[in-house]
């Protein structure tokens, strides 16, 4: 069966104003809205469209994290994924651990394509897709803004600093999504009800044979330095005068 595997990470919603805890141990997440990482929504949307075009038969979503992550898997199922895999893991899940766990799922499910987000908007690591492709010894096409599948290959347009780059990658491959790949669909209420009946399997890192190892200690979180409050000018002439006085013109 032709399958697409999509990585889903639970993150603080992108609209939330992040505040660092006074003791520096992290950011405040109590009572804060949690969501599917926006890039993963885009990844899932793309997988669903691939299936709708008849190029895949099943879309599987997977997450590695604590029990709460099942909420985001349910959201993904409501969006249209066929089934979900939850790899239970507590504490910090580094990209290498997430990638090792995803690789185990790949070995089991044999997907045609794996789509992840280009970065998680909490840790902003931007690593997991590339690490996974390295471990799997398969192609990677990061920062995708267009994916065209044909037999055995994918043509991927990538958003790079210079502009747009196009690569051909043999399948199976790992693709990571950029913002302009698509616009994710909204979840409809009846789909939320239906999603409750879709299969969600729970596994553990241990059962997959992946060690929960943290290689980087999170020493301290600090709030970012604040900029000094600026001045207001009333017209173009005043603006230019202010710039001149700062030596900027």
């Amino acid at each position: 069966m032709k399958r697409v595997l999509v990585g889903i990470k639970r993150v603080v919603d992108y609209n939330v104003r992040i505040r660092v805890k006074p003791d520096g141990s992290g950011v405040i997440t109590d009572g804060v809205k949690m969501s599917v990482n926006p890039f993963d929504e885009i990844a899932l949307e793309e997988a669903l469209r691939i299936k709708e075009r008849g190029l895949a038969e099943e879309v599987i979503v997977a997450t590695v994290g604590p029990a709460d992550c099942q909420q985001q898997l349910r959201t993904a199922l409501a969006m249209g994924a066929d089934r979900a895999l939850h790899v239970q893991a507590d504490g910090v899940v580094e990209p290498l651990v997430a990638a090792r766990a995803l690789l185990k799922l790949i070995e089991r499910e044999q997907p045609l394509l794996v789509i992840l987000g280009k970065q998680a908007i909490d840790d902003d690591n931007g690593q997991t897709g590339q690490v996974l492709a390295a471990l799997w010894n398969r192609p990677q096409a990061t920062y995708a803004s267009k994916i065209e599948l044909s037999a055995g290959t994918a043509r991927v347009t990538r958003e790079v600093d210079a502009g747009l780059e196009t690569l051909d990658v043999d399948l199976p491959a790992v693709i990571t999504t950029d913002l302009r790949l698509n616009e994710p669909r909204y979840v409809k209420l009846p789909d939320i009800m239906k999603a409750k009946k879709k299969p969600l399997e729970t596994l553990t890192l241990g059962a997959l044979g992946v060690e929960q190892r943290q290689q980087l200690k999170l020493v301290r979180f600090d709030p970012p330095p604040q900029r000094q409050k600026g001045i207001r000018v009333t017209d173009a002439a005043e603006l230019l005068a202010a710039l001149k006085s700062k030596g900027l013109l």
Partner: protein, 313 residues
């Protein structure tokens, strides 16, 4: 204790990218760093010569292969891996080139990666932004094994020239994959300064309304010798190409002067301009969040203000 640092050069086959000189400055913050730059290329001579001139560089290694014409991570990573063993730290820039490649190297090594290093506190302690720059995280590695890092280029000045490091060829014979093939790149040719290194940047947002609307910014930018950037909303709407996006998921820049025109100042945008020396905001909504970070704010209609500025210049 000395650290041996390997920096992967970013280049286009003939010219070394300025991001590499910034990685050198970052690496110099590692106590006792001995810095090697590796140039992966078809013919590395020209780029290696530029890398050798960066002050603080001890050695330049050339890894030459006909397969290296384009920076395909799947092709370059195994070659870097082949020479990586002696190094404690392996660094690249936090550009799309470096972000794509370095994490693949980290995966091959099974090593941890510190992304977007903005400050070095010791050989094992680094500071980096998380949550779109809303928090600064200090991380520490155990010091055992190797460490991969990407360098937030906006946080470091480029290393000066004047060096004369020896250049050596590294014999690397590893099997390279053919599963990833370069097809094309479409880079808009422009005479304007490069967004990532420009001293002045003018960015436009959704308010510009169309690609034509952006013309008033190009016109002003040309008068000021500035690069032009854009918000995500402007890029999504097709007013500006993707390579102009500034922000968390676009380019992180540190110009002397940043002018935000018709940009509301969403947190994801502000992440990209935190290190700008002076921020100017022009917006018709006096309550727009951009004014919270602007050094100079001007409330008004951009379609009147921008031509007026150009006229007065």
């Amino acid at each position: 204790m000395s650290s041996r640092v390997l920096i992967i050069a970013e280049h286009d086959g003939t010219k070394l990218n300025a991001s590499t000189a910034k990685c050198v400055t970052c690496a110099q913050g590692i106590p006792g760093a001995q810095i090697t730059i590796v140039v992966c290329a078809v013919d590395a001579a020209a780029v290696a010569a530029q890398a050798a001139q960066l002050s603080g560089v001890a050695r330049v290694l050339c890894v030459e292969n006909p397969a290296n014409r384009h920076a395909l991570a799947a092709v370059w990573a195994p070659q870097v891996l082949a020479i990586a063993a002696p190094f404690s730290h392996i660094l690249g820039p936090s550009t799309t080139f470096g972000k794509d490649l370095m994490a693949r190297i980290a995966g091959l090594l099974g090593a941890p990666q510190v992304s977007d290093i903005m400050a070095i506190e010791s050989a094992t302690r680094f500071r980096r932004p998380v949550y779109a720059g809303n928090a600064i995280l200090t991380v520490e590695s155990s010091g055992e094994g190797q460490l991969v890092g990407t360098v937030r280029t906006a946080s470091f000045q480029a290393a000066a020239g004047g060096g004369a490091a020896p250049i050596e060829k590294a014999a690397v014979s590893v099997e390279l994959p053919t599963h990833t093939r370069f097809v094309s790149v479409s880079a808009a040719r422009s005479d304007r300064p490069d967004l990532q290194t420009a001293r002045r940047v003018i960015s436009g947002g959704r308010a510009l309304g169309s690609a034509e609307g952006f013309r008033i910014l190009y016109s002003l930018a040309d008068k000021l010798g500035a690069a032009v950037g854009a918000s995500r909303a402007a890029v999504d709407a097709g007013y500006a190409p993707n390579e102009m996006q500034v922000g968390q998921t676009g380019k992180i820049i540190a110009p002397e002067l940043y002018v935000a025109v018709g940009i509301s100042g969403a947190i994801q945008h502000l992440t990209g301009i935190k290190d700008a020396r002076t921020i100017v905001a022009i917006n018709k909504d006096g309550e727009a969040p951009i004014f919270e970070v602007a050094d100079i704010g001007l409330v008004g209609d951009l379609f009147q203000i921008i031509p007026e500025i150009e006229r007065l210049l």
